[in-house]
Symmetry: C2
Subunit: 670 residues, 2 copies
């Protein structure tokens, strides 16, 4: 693999320890390990995670009410596998002199080299090679080499997994919520206190004390194993495992790689994003893809709609097996979604806004439970999966998800003179809450209902119910301002005062940290794409989309990391090439350059998927039209070519866009 697959410290914008821990983190969908220093410094945040391994605690409300989420679910920060205790003669204090990191994204292996210095100027070099195995997802493996550079002496080594003690209090920034849980640690397993989850483990500890001459080294291999089921007794062979890792990553890139010619940094950003998408996605049908993947504690390891609307397109088009397992997770939590709908007084199923175990854990319903669109987002992803993969077999096993969500919409909405309306919802834009007829929500619910009707007719079941679903979908109200010729984000949005952007200094962003929600909700101001996200999915024609873009984009703070990628896609399609380029660029390098200044809490997974959307839905103009996958060359002039592959009903397709071939027409590919 060439240099473009190597990530080094030169490639990242911020060299803060926690930032590096996130960006160079290794994960395999089951476990994730932050790339912390071998000898801890202040301000480090070492640790590892297991997907879906969480602790619960009661949510305390200042004022409680019926139907509020009852328990926090918090992904547990597990062991620090990377800390080493070192002693040179009698000295155990070291200063970091140099650090080199090389993440070989092509092979899924991290190489590190450190030089540490004692107060007596003794220099010791540490080399670590490590990977989170994709062959055996229980395994995180390390190979260490420790060598004196300018002395001979006794080197003592103690390398053990260290349990991270809970030491963080809940933070006020709702995006962070770092926390770790007290674990009961037994000989072969750890157990959470409240949620009763069990994790089996087997760790290779290493201890030695040796006289080492210059030119000699201490080397050892460690395989850390963790599993939700008892571990097999088979001994891990590091080299065999590493070989398999490379093969798996080669296979991954052979389908999922994207070659964008014209900007080396952005090319690296793309691969960095795809690498993390592949690394953190749950593979077992019981776990999903948390907002920060397995790279950090932000958002407590919860799964959101991010999976369906930002991540799944990438997986559906290039790694359908992963897509299937992520959708299988939703099928598995359907019973919880039915309970939740019932608790709220509705029929069918309502998937919860943020969750690990399927129960609602959003403690602020206006920007949580009220985002009912998650139901339709999930339905949309099932439909896209079926259309692109042709995997009707899986759909036939999961079609209850579509029926139950359709039932919910039918019961939740009501008929008025204007049509079928959905009230008191929050759309994707979280700076506008509890509104009537959010455009995105209504369009998505309509699609949800139609898809359920299609399945019901196809499988000849619930046919009578399906008549009502179709009637509601046909009658679904969508708001439009005839005078302004604008799509209405919701019934009241265009009636509001516009946010006073000119009176808002830079340091007051993101608004959510500096203004009361009541104030934010009062104005025309968006956190993220809302109407335009709907347009990305359900095109309304270039002229309409332009008008809406021109209206809504300037009102958008992009305070959410889920925003720019979507505006970029639409900008491509409506011919706003400069904006498309700019938004794509920011999406491609968001974490690499730490533009949101919080990559220390973990990657922005949804944006990474958004980066793929920017390239494929945006620059390449991909649309699914019936049985066809259709493209349109929107490649910005900054790039000479774009080359990518995707799978359509099991067949690999390759698309190459160049400036020469740039025309105005669509071109199909199936």
């Amino acid at each position: 693999m060439n240099k473009e697959f190597q990530l080094t410290l030169d490639d990242v914008g911020s060299n803060g320890n926690q930032n590096i821990e996130t960006l160079f983190a290794l994960a395999n969908g089951f476990l994730g390990v932050r790339a912390s220093l071998p000898i801890a410094e202040e301000g480090c945040n070492a640790g590892s995670f297991v997907n879906g391994f969480y602790e619960t605690s009661d949510i305390t409300y200042g004022e409680n009410a019926y139907g509020y989420a009852k328990q926090h679910q918090t992904m547990v920060k597990l062991f620090d596998f990377r800390t080493i205790e070192l002693k040179i003669n009698d000295c155990d204090k070291f200063t970091l002199s140099s650090r080199q990191m090389n993440l070989d994204m092509g092979k899924g292996v991290l190489q590190e080299k450190y030089v540490y210095t004692t107060s007596l100027n003794q220099e010791v070099q540490i080399e670590i090679e490590s990977f989170a195995s994709h062959k055996n997802r229980s395994v995180y493996a390390q190979k260490w080499r420790i060598m004196p550079l300018n002395f001979s002496g006794t080197i003592g080594v103690n390398k053990q997994a260290v349990h991270i003690q809970p030491n963080k209090v809940r933070e006020d920034d709702p995006r962070k919520k770092e926390s770790s849980a007290a674990l009961q640690i037994d000989e072969e397993k750890v157990q959470t206190k409240n949620s009763g989850q069990i994790l089996y483990y087997r760790f290779d500890d290493y201890q030695s004390e040796k006289l080492v001459e210059i030119g000699e080294e201490i080397s050892f291999v460690q395989c850390y194993e963790m599993s939700k089921t008892p571990l097999s007794s088979i001994k891990i062979d590091y080299e065999v495992m590493k070989e398999a890792q490379q093969t798996i990553f080669q296979d991954f890139w052979s389908i999922s790689d994207i070659e964008l010619e014209g900007n080396v940094q952005l090319q690296k950003g793309i691969r960095f994003n795809l690498f993390h998408l592949f690394s953190s996605a749950g593979r077992d049908g019981k776990t999903n893809f948390s907002a920060k993947g397995l790279t950090g504690e932000g958002y407590e390891g919860h799964y959101f709609w991010d999976t369906e609307m930002y991540l799944l397109p990438f997986f559906i088009f290039t790694q359908p097996e992963i897509a299937k397992s992520l959708l299988q997770y939703r099928r598995n939590i359907l019973p919880k979604a039915k309970e939740r709908a019932s608790e709220l007084g509705y029929k069918g199923a309502l998937f919860t806004w943020r969750t690990i175990n399927g129960e609602e854990t959003s403690a602020y319903y206006p920007a949580g439970t009220a985002q009912l669109h998650i139901n339709a987002d999930i339905a949309y992803a099932f439909e896209l999966y079926e259309k692109v993969t042709g995997d009707t077999k899986f759909l036939s096993s999961a079609k209850d998800v579509l029926y139950e969500t359709a039932r919910f919409w039918l019961d939740y909405g009501f008929y008025s003179k204007r049509g079928f309306e959905l009230h008191e919802v929050t759309g994707p834009d979280e700076y506008t809450a509890l509104v009537n007829n959010n455009y995105y929500t209504n369009q998505m619910a309509k699609n949800n209902l139609y898809y359920a009707v299609k399945l019901a007719n196809q499988y000849q079941e619930y046919v009578e119910e399906a008549v009502d679903w179709k009637k509601a979908a046909d009658a679904m109200f969508v708001g439009y301002d005839e005078e302004k010729k604008l799509t209405k984000q919701d019934d009241s949005f265009l009636e509001k005062e516009k946010w006073h952007f000119e009176q808002t200094p830079k340091e007051k962003y993101p608004l959510l940290l500096h203004y009361h929600p009541m104030k934010i909700y009062k104005y025309q101001v968006l956190k993220q794409a809302d109407v335009l996200l709907a347009h990305m999915l359900f095109p309304r024609g270039v002229e309409q989309e332009k008008r809406d873009f021109d209206y809504y984009e300037p009102l958008t703070t992009h305070d959410s990391s889920l925003s720019k990628a979507i505006y970029g896609v639409v900008a491509s399609r409506i011919g706003y090439e400069k904006k498309a380029y700019d938004f794509f660029k920011e999406s491609a390098i968001m974490d690499l350059e730490d533009t949101h200044e919080n990559a220390n809490h973990g990657i922005h997974a949804a944006n990474m998927g958004g980066c793929w959307l920017g390239l494929i839905y945006g620059f390449a103009g991909l649309r699914v039209e019936g049985e066809e996958i259709v493209f349109h060359n929107h490649l910005p002039k900054e790039f000479t070519s774009l080359k990518f592959r995707y799978l359509h009903k099991g067949n690999v397709q390759e698309v190459v866009l160049t400036q020469d071939e740039k025309t105005n027409g669509d071109f199909g590919s199936s």
Copy 2:
């Protein structure tokens, strides 16, 4: 005083211990004592309170955000002054055989008689006379008589104030929130831990052990003194104090009594309500009137808009000195209101929704801080006070309240094509939240602005600002549905689905305990009068009011105790005599009959004021028109006459309504 001023156990609907503790509680605006049993039984909730004596604790949110209220403020449950330790020979277990209570509301004195029986059938009678002194508000005084009825023996008595230890956890029902705080108790004072409040005390303890023959008795007097400032050393004379109490209550009734002929129970209900209004109102300008007065811990002893809109009319018209001190409280917390407006990003002052110390302590902003109307409610009360009392001197010292609230409205609202709009507010109806242009709020804000303009012109200050206030008031948008000829509660209310009352069984009320707020907000359903409350204050003509009444009343659950009284007033005015009678009746006996089944947490003070409104604003049709007080006889046929007095600019006026004199015309009285 005649029998109608005596409240006995026969008069109350529920004989539960906690209910009796509330109904027979004694208070003097400074301190309040629940009428608990002398020998505690399970399920009792004894205790005393001092107005505005509170403890703070951090509010924990499941998900915190900028500008949320930071601290709970909780009125502290203080000493149990009523428990006695009794020993007859060696026996200290007693069974209550009989209980008589007689609250002489005419004199402000409670008489009680208990017979307790030992397992050996020894009967002992306990008589207690007690009052919360209105002459010296530091004093709660008791006189005890203990006599053996059927034996002679040694009677041991230990009568001491007992500190109530914190033993309650926060409850989920937002209306309760009982709690008590750990106190640091020194020799002469107690101190709260977090809020650092100090209360000085001097208690007469009593201990004795005597041989008592049948026909003899043990008697003693106890004066419990508490004060926020060091106590004077003057010894309290029980009889002198009791004499003064009777004079003060005579004076009170001479102005504030209302004689309603035709229904003895309702007559008693009225006096019961007026008695508690007089008892619990703060008198020192630094305290106010909590939602449950000084009779219970419900709503944590917080002050709400209840004072201004439900209680102050009674005080303004009959006890203007008390009215002034309640308004003085608002003037005193104005600096906190300015800080709050600033924190939320607005100019001027925003009074907090619920508070003791002036800081916001509502932990649920959609039904708390968002009820901005409290600003205008306060302004309205200041205006009414000035109009009725003519006390311009007080107003001139408090007019900043009006200017600062006007400044807030001007900054909060904005001009649109439709006029001056107020968005993202919650009106009085808490089953509809975060809406645009709540009719009540806009009307009240308009009035607030106009009154500020009037004062500014009168005092020739802020005259330029006042031009903008007037402009906004003139342009204030008020919503009206031209087709339905209905006043719109807010921009979207009439667009909503109607609540499915037919599918809501009785046990699902109050809705707030059985449905998620998101669900409740979605429907046309009211907790309490909203548009109709505005109509009570700003009449819109009988025809319009009838249409609005016919539309909104059937959508109202009256889950709030603040609802029925208001509908009753409007029903009177629009000639719905039967409804006026029914609503008034429920208002008159709400606590006496415990119709809301929670009088155990304390009286419903606002409803007690609402009872006065039902009589005077409703049956007697009182309106203030310029310099005149105007009446209209709406006396329901169930009553033969209604007689009451009020003060207009210092002069006592008497009004008598009878069925004979019932005409359609207004009659003045000034």
